[in-house]
Structure formats: structure tokens, C-alpha cells
Amino acid sequence: MSAQTNRLNTGGRIDRSRVVNFTFDGKSYTGFAGDTLASALLANGVRLVGRSFKYHRPRGIVTAGAEEPNALIQLGTGARTEPNTRATQIELYDGLISESQNRWPSLTFDIGAFNGIIHRFIPAGFYYKTFMWPAKAWLFYEKFIRRAAGLGKGSTEVDPDRYDKLYHTCDVLVIGAGPAGLAAALAAGRTGARVMLADEQSELGGSLLSESTATVNSQPASNWVNDALRELAALHEVKLLPRTTAFAYYDHNSMSLVERLTDHVGPTPNQPRQRLWRIRAKKIILATGSIERPLVYLDNDRPGCMLVSAVRAYVNRYGVMPGRRIVLMTNNDTAYRTALDLANAGVTVPAIVDLRAEVTGPLAKAVREKGIEILAGHAITKVHGEQGVKDVEVARLSADGKSVTGSTRHISCDCVATSGGWQPTVHLHSQTRSKVKWNEAIDAFVPGDTIPGQNFVSIGGAHGVFDLAACLTEGYAPKRHRKSSRCVRSGSSRPRSRSVRAASISLTIRTTSPPATSCWRIAKAIARSNI
């Protein structure tokens, strides 16, 4: 059993008194209650967790949430085995068994990686039936080609678990329990309306769970979350649904959600494993937040390449160092707060590589005072290290920002975190066939007009509002939405949520400023991503 080498001594929302044992690829590790599989693996210094589909490129953990593209894990054994689960969403429980996928004979030594060496001869869209000639040989090749398809392995046995379903109605359904969602649920709940608040995570609080510095009413943001949850729990008509993912928005304001009842404690034969909720709400509030965009450079899929928001979550929420030396690359202010958090946690930040030509302001000042170098007008062009980042190449951007100039500089590190701005999570909005519109100020698509016949509103990060104070204000008083009066309605009128207003909200450090538009495109131009 190996020690948790990358665990910070203090901090995080994990319960250090409860040690949890689990295995990954047959090896035993320990984590703490409150960990996800991803955070526990990182705490144990495991960076390589999977292989890419075709070229079998080594892959690591990129994010800390539902948007994880790479850390896809085979979970459980026998009839309960489940392929392609995201390590970032798996809550750790005692006796959890997990395995990496798409590698043979082992994760570190993978025969399939040969495909990566000959990638020039089997490009994307390569027609594998080329091997049909000569006809007899196909019978030989077929076995290997068929075996190469798919990542994990599904169970061939009957599912031993039971599943539940439930129909429900409410006045206000809030999707997402971040600052905006909590505020909206509070505002609606205080009016006596029947409110349901669903969030896919085990803990409600959203981005505030990884927050270290923000304050609400001059109290730490986590206090505000606790107070809000306490108040919501005391409200008779409010129902909280943690571990519940809203996955489909249907006609006439009905939403389908899946609640994971026992997935966080392991197989429980006497209880339903998951519950399908079909909720019809008079008003739906989408507070689904936003997802950070990565920046691109050569080999940006190596284990150790992450998002800045993920690094922040691992340090602040899970008390885990994703690396010992972390280089940050950014085109906005997000990385600077993370750099301060890292410095406070004792993690070395050799440099912040900023695509913007000039970096000023209080955050940059604070970072410089910590002795962190800021390379403004620079970009990471390449990372080195096959099975994990070893160092990065940094080069200066030309004056027009379209190319890199001068010699490259190597910075040794074991983790690279990038931030290319934020993209509102508009999926549920789009499912109603409502359009999105381009917002030049934040360089992202934001929800457009709501289609008639549906009654919902997007607030907070999902609405392209990234400032905490503004998120809370929007949550407390969501703007009146276009009326769909022709829709057949029943019962009482829509509850009003305007009456309550955010009393006084102050912030020590404000959240994201608009990302530099052009830099995002430059980064695209100077680098390429890998499949």
C-alpha cells in the first residue's frame, strides 16, 4: 500500500479521519471520504490513468468534474462492471475496484501504442477493410481489428440491481447548486413555493466548494453555502437532490433527471441503485455554470496537462497537489487566483505563461509578490515527457500574435494547467431548441431567447455571468422571462422570486475578467491538438 504522496497536510473538504481503501489496476491505494477516484489517484501520485482510443496515447486526468474527457475508467467487476465512467465523478467508497481501459498487457507498457508510431499510415478516417486484401488474410486481421474497437468492456451478465422511477411536479426546479442556483432556490423557497434543487455532485455548492478567497457578506463563501443549505433544508416545501443529473429537457417544461442513490457506497442489494425522476415544473431555472476551455499546444494530452479550474479544485476542495511544480498558461485572470492558492499550499509555480501582451492589476501584483514569474506575451508551444509532463517549451509571441518568435525556453514541471476562458453550459437550454447567441465580450455562446411553450431562464455561469456577486444577484432575482401565456397552465400562478434581494454582497477578489479574444485564436494557430 502506497502513501498518499501528493496529499496536502491540511485543507480540503475531505474527511481525513475516514480512510478509504480502493484498487486501481489491481494495486491497492488509500484515499479519504469525500474524495473522487480522480482526486484519490492524484493524491497517490498516479498520473497515467488511460489510453486514447486509436493511437493509445497515454492519458491522464484533465478536469475535476463532469466534463472529463480522458480519465475513463472501468468500474467494478462481474455483473456490476461498468465501462467508461469518469474518474472525476466517481465517489470513492471502501472496496472500490477500478481498472484502466484500452491497454494490453498493461497501462504503462501497451502494445497498441504501436499505432501511435505508425500514425502517419493510419490517419483519422483510415479504412480498416484495406486489410481485406488478400481475401484470406482478412480472417487473420479481423480478430485484431475487431478487438481494437471500443474502450471498456460491458458486462455480459444480467444487471443485478434494481432501478426506481418517480414522477413529480413542482413550482420551481433549479438545476445546479452553485452560487446562482442556491440563491435562486432560496429566493423561491422563501416565498413558500414548492422548489426542487438538483445538482450532479455529492455536495451542493458548485464552484464555491473549490473557492478559497471569495467572501459573501464578508464571510467566507463556504459559510454562505452552509447557511443557505441549512435554510433550504428547513423549508418544508424545498427538496434537495444531490447526486442528481438533469439529462433531458422535454416539452411543456418537463425534465428528466437521474439520481444516483447507492453508487457512492458500492453495491447495496436491498436498495434501488438509481432513480429516474420525471419532474414537471412551472418554472425551470438553469444554473448549470460554465466549463473552462483548455488552451492548445503540442502534445497537450499528456498526463499532467490539466485545466486551471481542475488544479484549483484539487488543491482547495480535495487537498491534493496535482503536481509539485505547476506551470500555468492562461489568457484571462482565472489562473492568477489559482497561482496564489498553489503558492499558499506550498506548491511551486515556476511561471504563469500569459498570452496577453500586458498583465497588470492587483492579482498580477499579488502573484509577483509571491515570487512567481509572469511571462506576458508568451505561449507554451510544446510539452515533453511521454507518460507524464516533464518540462514545457515556452516561446514569445510575435507582435501580431500570430506566430512565435525567438528561441524557446524550457521550464521543468510535472503539471501544466491552462485556461482559455469559460464556456457557459448551455446544453439544457439548447435541448429546448432555443438558440444560442454569440457574446463578443466573453468570447462565448450564451443562451438566446427562450422558445415559446417552455418556461425557463438561465442564470449565473450558464448565462455567461462569471462574477460571483452578479451570479448571486441573478440568482436572488432572476429576470422575468418571456411569457408563454398561450401554453395551457394549471393551478396557481408562478411564484414570485423577485421580492428577495441580495442584501449586501462583497468580494475580496472578483472572478474572471473577459478573456483576451484574439489570444485564444493565436494559440490555435501556433499549436495543434492530438487525437
Partner: protein, 104 residues
């Protein structure tokens, strides 16, 4: 899933209802049936308006009162604009109101 406001029972979920296709189709009288051409028969049997916009259709409250009624539904937004009883004439929904309902 729609909410359909049954004129006899009130609003219920779509799964309680059955769909009865287009309403207000003129059925040929016995006399007409004797003289109808194949093209006219085909038109009556198979050709429907299939509009992009308001569609007048019949529904039956299978798992409720088991009665038939008519519904005016927008086929783009799935808004139910009017529910009315069998035998009532096709409602005149103002064209301006319909245009407003069409997102394009």
C-alpha cells in the same frame, strides 16, 4: 411530454391520452362515395395537411374519461393553443398570433 387540458377532466400528462390524427376531415357522404374517383379517394384516405405551424388534431383521454376532443397544437413549439370539444367548429386562431408563435 405534453400537458393536455382535457375539457372534461382538466390538465393531465400526455401518457394518459391517445392520438387520433388530424381533425375536421370532410368525410364523403354515401352519395359521393358512389361517384368518387380513385384520386379523390386517395386524397381522402391518405393525404393530410401536415403543416409546419398550427395543427388541428383529435385526442382521446384513454386512461381517464375516455372521451374524444380536439386540440390545436403548434407543430414547431408544441404549444397547445386551444382545446375544444368534438363537434365544435375549427377555431379561428388569428394569423398574427400564429406568426408570433413561430420562432422563425
Amino acid at each position: 411530454m405534453f400537458v393536455i387540458n382535457c375539457p372534461y377532466c382538466g390538465p393531465r400528462d400526455e401518457h394518459e391520452f391517445g392520438y387520433g390524427h388530424e381533425a375536421h376531415i370532410a368525410r364523403p357522404t354515401l352519395e359521393q362515395q358512389g361517384t368518387m374517383t380513385d384520386a379523390e379517394w386517395a386524397n381522402y384516405l391518405f393525404l393530410r395537411t401536415n403543416p409546419k405551424g398550427v395543427h388541428f388534431e383529435r385526442w382521446v383521454h384513454t386512461k381517464g374519461c375516455r372521451r374524444w376532443f380536439n386540440v390545436a397544437r403548434h407543430t414547431v413549439t408544441h404549444e397547445i393553443l386551444k382545446v375544444y370539444k368534438m363537434g365544435e367548429p375549427k377555431p379561428d386562431l388569428a394569423p398574427s398570433a400564429l406568426a408570433e408563435n413561430n420562432p422563425r
